[in-house]
């Protein structure tokens, strides 16, 4: 059973929302229904998130990603469609039941941290349990544990404003961890941080995820971040899903020109792994070659492949050779996939042709 399932979700703001949904479900673009005086934020979005997965929703501002994440925990009711959390359709729940479900199953981390400035770090981290009525001693103990996990054990009695941005966001993360929910929603959680701190936070999130096995829905406008964190990525454009796939699928088989243009900026060597670039290896010779794991990112292979005369052998856990990586394979993998690179210039042509047709 998926941890989160979004089923043909729509969110349209405005009085004639249902009329707009009917038009949008016929495939009309949201700009063509402007005369209804509605704002279509999310249009026909469906996906499933498996337990223990990091699912990244990627899109530029205005693509509806913040609206989408707020429908997943019922902060916004969808105009049409359903959201299922562990098989429960939350769109039919009463307010009280919805609050209980949020407290037990879904917590959230916010872009601008959203900490309570008048409470100490410890009290902030304990907030979720406080709402649920857990006793003071127990919630403080669990909050202290979560703060230790994110490395803020010594800052318990400080006020949030005394901390740097990265530390404040770690308090936000500790608050979500203390609530001990299986699902964590992260709304542009690292976007307000400096690039270096953002990298640290990403690393820490990956470590925590490996340790605790939470289901994470992560929202970002940064494809590099999406590629780094996501097991799967959902690309949104103008409220609609453009593509859902693993980072490698998105990189190697972008669904359309829009996605392809995004992938231009991605550092491919960090996303691609040995397994995804390797070529068939002649087993007899490969036995003597230096070995690499299939999930090693390409960026780690540069030096090793340059230092050897022979290609590298990619081996699985049982030490069986499953492929080979040579300097040539790496170089050709790092180049843009052909269909995508040729698609970029034609994008301009395409739009011009459409314009001419009108």
């Amino acid at each position: 059973m998926p941890a989160v399932r979004a089923n043909h979700l729509y969110k349209v703001f405005g009085k004639r929302a249902s009329q707009a949904v009917a038009l949008l479900s016929d495939g009309r673009h949201r700009d063509t229904i402007k005369d209804l005086n509605v704002t279509a934020a999310v249009i026909d979005v469906s996906f499933e998130v498996q337990p223990g997965e990091i699912f990244v929703v990627m899109g530029l501002s205005g693509s509806g990603k913040s609206t989408l994440i707020r429908m997943l925990n019922g902060l916004l009711p969808p105009t049409a469609g359903t959201v299922e959390i562990d098989g429960t359709d939350i769109t039919t729940l009463s307010r009280r039941a919805l609050r209980a479900l949020r407290g037990e199953k879904i917590s959230m981390v916010f872009q601008h941290f959203a900490l309570l400035p008048h409470r100490t770090v410890l009290e902030n981290a304990a907030y979720g349990l406080e709402v649920r009525g857990v006793s003071r001693a127990e919630r403080h103990e669990r909050a202290a544990h979560a703060l230790d996990l994110v490395g803020l054990g010594d800052w318990k009695d400080h006020l949030p404003n005394q901390l740097s941005g990265g530390m404040q966001q770690r308090v936000g993360l500790a608050r979500a961890l203390t609530a001990d929910t299986d699902i964590i929603l992260m709304d542009e959680a690292f976007s307000a941080l400096d690039p270096l701190i953002r990298r640290d936070m990403q690393t820490q999130l990956l470590q925590l995820q490996a340790e605790l096995g939470k289901t994470i829905v992560f929202i970002t406008h940064d494809l590099n971040e999406a590629m780094r964190l996501g097991n799967r990525i959902c690309v949104l454009r103008d409220g609609r899903v453009v593509q859902i796939g693993t980072p490698e699928e998105i990189l190697n088989h972008p669904a359309d020109d829009y996605v392809a243009r995004f992938t231009e900026d991605v550092d491919r060597s960090r996303v691609l792994t040995a397994a995804s670039v390797m070529e068939p290896a002649p087993k007899a010779e490969a036995a003597d070659w230096e070995r690499v794991a299939p999930d090693a990112p390409v960026v780690e292979l540069f030096q090793r492949v340059a230092a050897c005369d022979s290609p590298l052998a990619v081996v699985d856990k049982e030490d069986r050779v499953i492929g080979a990586v040579s300097p040539t394979t790496i170089l050709s993998a790092l180049a843009m996939p052909e269909e995508a690179s040729s698609a970029v210039p034609s994008l301009a042509n395409g739009t011009r042709r459409e314009g001419a047709a009108k």
Binding site: G103, F113, A114, H118, Y127, G128, V131
Partner: protein, 415 residues
């Protein structure tokens, strides 16, 4: 042509207002009487306390402060003490329970005190207060909670009582004249504790000036009126402000009403106020409440609306109920803005006192009004200066409370 001349025809707006008021008084006269009695009682009690503080009242206040200090650390014993004290007071008020208890206890308990203070009878209310005070001090001592603070309060209480007895030869049951200096010291101490030594020194000097120009009892009477009116205004304003912050419809309705309340000449409120409550302090308080309430509503609404939406969302996202979000997030974060509103309410209330003096509310307003009618510039100026001193005292005091709000502390922590 005669049919044309009355254009526009006269609309009986004022008459309608009058008729509405008459209708209100005819149908809800009893309600207005109750409101009037309650307000009158509150103003009189507060004024009497400020001009002639009773040992009984001081004891009750000291006990209340101790209870507030201790209740969070040890709720059960403190609440038991507070509950039984209230029960004893109620018993004393209804069927003289205290007197009965005192008469049935061994006389040795009281004889020495009666002898010491030259008393002929035992004041039961005072005894109840002292027992409660002692019980609370014992609780603090046994559980070792905030001992220095508790000692300061209990010691302060003792010092005040002894001061009244030794300095002014007054019996502790009623600290007699001149109580002005005692109350002045108490108010200055309050200013010092809440707002720091600067305001403490200012209060000492300025309030002494008020005593020396013989406006003390008038000033205290005005202070009582302003405090009661402000309290009522705030109690009405904050809930309206909260509702207006939640509902745009309510906000749109409330705004023009507030504009009307604020821009209508304040004198106009006095006429219906007298109609409903006759002369005295009550119409003054009612007119002051109407005139002073708008900033309380406005700033409460503003304070809640300007809170970062994400923080409220965080509350919702962790499953907090609307009530918990209101009390745990919105009100604490809006508190400094709300307190700015309370400050404005008090200041507007003070600006109404002179006008309220015209309807016999007494106090400094009355002095100024007399100054006008007798063409007595000296009296008017002295009354005016006393109003200014009260205004500065109240303004700085509420500003200091604002600075101590959790949100303000958090902002200072950032700096």
């Amino acid at each position: 042509m005669s049919w044309l001349s009355p254009f526009p025809p006269r609309i009986p707006l004022g008459e309608g207002f009058e008729a509405f008021n008459t209708w209100l008084k005819d149908h809800f006269g009893g309600l207005f009487d109750v409101i009037g009695t309650v307000i009158n009682w509150a103003v009189t009690t507060l004024r009497d306390f400020l001009t002639e503080p009773q040992a009984t009242q001081l004891t009750a206040i000291a006990a209340a402060i101790l209870a507030v200090l201790l209740v969070r650390a040890r709720p059960i014993p403190v609440l038991v003490i507070v509950g039984s004290t209230i029960a004893l007071y109620v018993g004393q008020a209804t069927f003289e329970l205290g007197n009965t208890l005192v008469n049935h206890s061994p006389p040795q308990l009281f004889l020495w005190a009666m002898h010491l203070f030259g008393q002929e009878k035992v004041e039961s209310n005072l005894v109840i207060g002292i027992v409660a005070l002692i019980a609370l001090v014992v609780v603090a001592a046994v559980y070792r909670i905030r001992l220095p603070l508790v000692a300061a309060v209990a010691g302060g209480w003792l010092a005040v009582i002894l001061c009244g007895w030794l300095l002014f030869g007054a019996i502790p049951e009623v600290i007699g004249q001149p109580t002005a200096i005692l109350m002045m010291l108490l108010l200055s101490t309050l200013a010092w504790v809440v707002a720091g030594w600067k305001l403490g020194v200012f209060s000492l000097v300025a309030l002494t000036l008020v005593i020396s120009i013989e406006q003390w009892s008038n000033a205290m009477s005005t202070l009582a009126l302003v405090l009661v009116a402000s309290l009522i205004a705030v109690v009405i304003a904050i809930p309206i402000g909260i509702v207006a912050a939640y509902s745009t419809v309510v906000s749109r309705i409330v705004k023009p009403v507030l504009d009307l309340m604020q821009t209508m000449p304040a004198f106009v409120y006095l006429i219906p106020a007298i109609f409903f409550f006759s002369l005295g302090a009550v119409p003054g308080v009612v007119a002051t409440v109407v005139f002073a309430m708008p900033p309380g509503v406005r700033l409460t609404e503003l304070g809640i609306r300007q809170i970062d939406k994400e923080v409220v969302e965080a509350g919702e996202a962790f499953g907090a109920s609307p009530f918990k979000i209101l009390t745990g997030i919105q009100l604490p974060l809006a508190l400094s803005t709300i307190m700015a509103g309370v400050n404005q309410v008090i200041m507007l209330g003070l600006s109404m006192v002179v006008i309220a003096g015209m309807v016999g509310a007494g106090g400094l307003g009355n002095q100024v009004y007399q100054g006008i009618s007798r063409n007595d510039g000296a009296l008017g100026f002295e009354g005016g200066i006393a109003v200014v001193i009260l205004a500065i005292f109240l303004d700085r005091l509420t500003a200091a409370i604002t600075r101590r709000s959790p949100q303000a502390r958090a902002e200072r922590a950032a700096a």
